[in-house]
């Protein structure tokens, strides 16, 4: 029997860095320029027209104090090294080896606007990784410009627009068909690109029926966007038929590989007939996550769609690598430059370390681990698997419901997640919208965590279910062992209570900015 973690978070009741320090305190004192420098470039290194009039409002603290403050802040988080079975995100270890590789000057000190002659090494890695993804997907060309999965989905909608526009059919092909269980970035990006969204409901098999798809697609359909398996852990075995039906209606087919971990090396989007697909390097390929930016959605497509790809595309000509910007039919750019290259290098490092067999094995392990977890979770009263009538193994993750426990105790899935943090365990992912099962949660073990870690996680779930029965109010008011107490969620819906920056905090919460005249 594995233990249940005993945990108490560090709590440093410190002000924010903007409120720390004292006038005149400095982290670094820089020497005055040497005489030879001033003689050459003049005493005023910054032209008067560019120099700011007022001193910036920065905290005045020493380097040591700054280090200590940020160490304390990091101690008040759970870090990224705990047990985090955060479903749909495919949590993986981000290796130090690839981290060091990206810190090397050959990568860290280059700029995408350098002449390609001076970037051959980086371009070779990007191109080689493109080849690896082609092997995994059956696609003909990848780009890495998109800054995340949703951005890659948007790339698909932008490519589809360019494709239909090039054929003079953009006014006719106005609809995008997807499943209600697809990740919300698919309908959202299609809507952003001006397409109408047609959702298909889940039916008795746990996925939408072919009949619903046939009723939905027509000469108006521009594209279909699908996840498979979905977040319930159910693989739609009719996928090949789906692609066929969509193709017969003339639509483009996009495979959102957000849930690739359960099928890595087992299937190929190209062989299934898809025109394009997307991988998230910060999920499946072991590169670090970071919300809203330093991620990569690798977008790949067939030769037929390649002319419409965002620019630039990295190409190989003989022994030389080039940055191809001259693509007249391109959909434009979805982000600057050729993508977040350090992430590409880390993903390349992961893929090379794993090898083709390793990638397949990792997929097997993630599916086995999830099904082990399903068996264990099924033993805990009050938990219910999604689509309970489907008696088949799930893929790499499973959606569960706390509905019966909530009815019995009033403890919701949000309360449950808050309580997890009291055990030093990262709260789980609940569900994308719309919530199809009551009080959902979605664990995903992946290939990283040991059986012991998974057992610990399950023990914590079992313990909280027991806490919910014996002391529901304690669970509903959790966390109690954390750096901060429960955050009331209602403020999330009130923009006047949000402050993402110091300036916004001053304006909205303190109200000082108006006095100072800061916009």
């Amino acid at each position: 029997m594995t233990r249940i973690p005993e945990f108490r978070a560090a709590k440093w009741n410190e002000p924010v860095v903007m409120e720390m320090g004292r006038p005149g305190a400095r982290g670094q004192l820089f020497p005055a320029p040497e005489g030879e420098v001033t003689e050459t470039v003049g005493a005023d290194l910054i032209p008067g027209s560019m120099a700011r009039k007022d001193r910036p409002e920065l905290p005045e603290i020493t380097e040591f104090e700054a280090q200590r403050h940020y160490l304390h802040l990091s101690q008040m988080t759970l870090g990224m090294m705990g047990i985090s079975l955060f479903g749909t995100c495919t949590m993986k270890y981000n290796s130090k080896t690839t981290e060091y590789a990206t810190l090397r000057p050959e990568l860290a000190e280059v700029h995408p606007y350098q002449h390609p002659d001076t970037l051959q090494g980086v371009l070779e890695i990007v191109h080689d990784f493109d080849l690896i993804l082609r092997n995994l997907s059956g696609m003909d060309q990848f780009i890495f410009q998109a800054g995340g999965g949703a951005d890659a989905a948007y790339t698909m909608t932008a490519v589809a627009r360019a494709y239909w526009d090039d054929r003079g059919m953009l006014d006719q092909r106005t609809e995008m068909v997807t499943s209600v269980q697809a990740h919300p970035c698919n309908p959202a990006t299609a809507a952003a690109a001006g397409f109408k969204v047609v959702n298909l409901p889940l039916e008795e098999n746990g996925y939408p029926s072919l009949e619903a798809l046939k009723a939905a697609v027509s000469e108006k359909t521009a594209l279909i966007m699908l996840n498979n398996p979905d977040d319930m852990g159910i693989y739609n075995p009719e996928i090949k038929e789906w692609v066929k039906v969509a193709k017969e209606a003339g639509a483009l087919c996009f495979y959102d590989h957000a849930n690739f971990n359960g099928v890595m090396g087992k299937l190929s989007a190209g062989e299934l007939g898809f025109d394009a697909c997307m991988f998230m390097l910060h999920k499946t390929f072991g590169a670090p996550k970071a919300g809203g930016g330093p991620a990569v959605g690798a977008y790949g497509c067939t030769d037929e769609l390649a002319p419409y790809l965002p620019c630039p595309v990295i190409t190989k000509n003989g022994d030389r690598y080039d940055i191809d910007e001259d693509r007249p039919k391109s959909a434009g750019k979805v982000r600057e430059y050729w993508g977040n290259v350090p992430q590409v290098v880390k993903a390349y490092g992961w893929a090379r370390a794993m090898g083709a067999e390793g990638i397949q094995l990792a997929s097997d392990i993630s599916v086995v681990a999830n099904n082990y977890m399903d068996k264990k979770l099924a033993e805990i009263p009050g938990l219910e698997i999604s689509n309970p009538s489907i008696n088949a193994y799930r893929m790499e993750m499973t959606r569960w419901s706390l509905g019966p426990l909530t009815e019995e105790t009033g403890v919701s899935t949000v309360d449950f997640a808050n309580r997890m943090a009291d055990y030093g365990i990262d709260p789980y992912w609940m569900s994308h919208e719309p919530w199809i099962v009551a009080e959902p949660f979605t664990p995903e073990a992946g290939e990283l965590w040991s059986k012991e870690d998974i057992d610990t996680w399950i023990n914590v779930i079992r313990q909280i279910a027991e806490d919910a029965r014996t002391n529901p109010e304690m669970v509903k008011t959790a966390p109690h062992n954390q750096a901060i107490a429960q955050v009331k969620g209602d403020v999330f819906e009130d923009p006047s209570k949000w402050a993402m920056t110091w300036r916004a905090y001053q304006r909205k919460i303190v109200g000082e900015d108006q006095e100072k005249g800061v916009a």
Binding site: A191, N199, G410
Partner: protein, 369 residues
């Protein structure tokens, strides 16, 4: 939050003895003669026990005797009993108790559709919540189980920020007399405000959930934008359908059928005859909502729209509005039709598009029941 409780002690008695309901004193006598047991009190007790366990000493106004007070005696609840003149175990008791409770936030009742109607008819601005005990429960005001009702009461008292409100839950009832003769004639009697669990704080990747009014308003605006000048639009009852009238700044009849032509409302609370007159020389389309949980499209609360008019519009002439949340929460992923004409019902079967927001649709399967 201040909660009142009233139990209809005879609710549900008719079901076990084959009476399809327990409306009216003669039926109660018949149910008793057939050996029916009253279950509403037991089911209410289940909910109240959960409340007392979760929030010991919770304050509650209760109706007297078997209408409430008898069932809370051994529970750790702080109750105040309201007075009513005398107990007759008729609909009058329920109404008098609700009226006597005065200025509360929520009236929790144990009963079925008949009790829901009685409570809603005198509840005024107060929200209502049903502990499910009846034979018929077509209304959208019931918790799923007595336990769920108890959990909701506990949340309302101890954690009101977890509770959201829905102002348009359907209060429906079937004419039992007709039902016993084999005729299913459910009617929409009104809309009530009900508490609903609110899932706060979906962390990380989640965002705030879109509220139903915004989704429906966007869907309605899109429908209005595509309206044809010469087509008569028959607007069914309910908030989803009436969002169409609101999109052109008109008020709709919540329980009745309206008609629009040329972008204007041309008839309110229209009778079958009025609709037929208006439809002369025009194509017709029918705007409908969906009932919560059960997913009825036709035949529950909108029987004013006659089968032959539905037939004229055809399946392609139906314009359906509902939120994604409502559609995904249906007990079965399908829309039910029960027009009274089996052939028409069969002809409507198949997939239709339901408008769920601006440029957003969901394919739904229509099934006859």
């Amino acid at each position: 939050m201040r909660i009142g409780l009233v139990i209809n002690p005879i609710a549900g008695m008719g079901g076990a003895v084959g009476l399809k309901g327990t409306d009216g004193p003669d039926t109660v006598a018949e149910a008793l003669r057939r050996g029916a047991n009253a279950k509403a009190g037991d089911r209410a007790y289940t909910a109240l026990r959960l409340l007392a366990d979760r929030v010991p000493g919770a304050r509650l106004a209760v109706a007297p005797g078997q209408l409430g007070a008898d069932w809370v005696q051994d529970l750790d609840l702080d109750t105040t009993t309201v007075e009513i003149p005398n107990i007759t175990t008729t609909a009058r008791d329920t109404k008098q108790a609700v009226l006597a409770m005065g200025d509360l936030d929520v009236i929790v009742f144990a009963g079925g559709d008949g009790t829901a109607r009685d409570v809603a008819s005198v509840a005024g601005d107060r929200a209502i919540l049903g502990i499910p005990c009846g034979v018929k429960m077509h209304s959208g005001v019931f918790a799923v189980t007595p336990q769920a009702a108890g959990a909701m009461m506990a949340d309302m008292i101890s954690a009101p920020e977890r509770v959201g409100w829905n102002d348009s839950a359907e209060v429906m009832d079937i004419d039992e007399e007709a039902l016993r003769k084999g005729i299913l004639a459910p009617r929409l009697y009104g809309f009530a405000r009900i508490p609903a669990s609110r899932s706060l704080m979906q962390a990380a990747k989640g965002g705030p959930r879109q509220d139903a009014t915004t989704s429906l308003a966007s869907a309605a605006a899109a429908v209005v934008a595509e309206m044809e000048e010469e087509t008569l639009y028959i607007i069914g009852p309910g908030t989803s359908a009436s969002s169409i009238a609101q999109a052109v700044n008109e008020t709709a009849t919540p329980l009745g059928v309206d008609a629009m032509l040329g972008g204007k409302v041309v008839a309110r609370d229209a009778s079958d005859a009025t609709l037929r007159e208006l439809a002369k020389g025009h194509d017709i389309r029918i705007v409908l909502g969906v009932t919560g949980r059960q997913g009825f499209l036709l035949g529950r609360g909108n029987q004013q729209i006659a089968p032959d008019m539905i037939s004229r519009a055809g399946r392609d002439g139906l314009i359906i509005l509902a939120t994604e949340d409502k559609l995904t929460a249906l007990a079965q992923p399908q829309l039910l039709v029960d027009t009274g004409d089996p052939e028409l019902d069969a002809s409507l079967e198949g997939f239709v598009r339901v408008s769920t927001g601006a440029n957003r649709q969901m394919m739904m399967r229509i099934a006859s029941c």
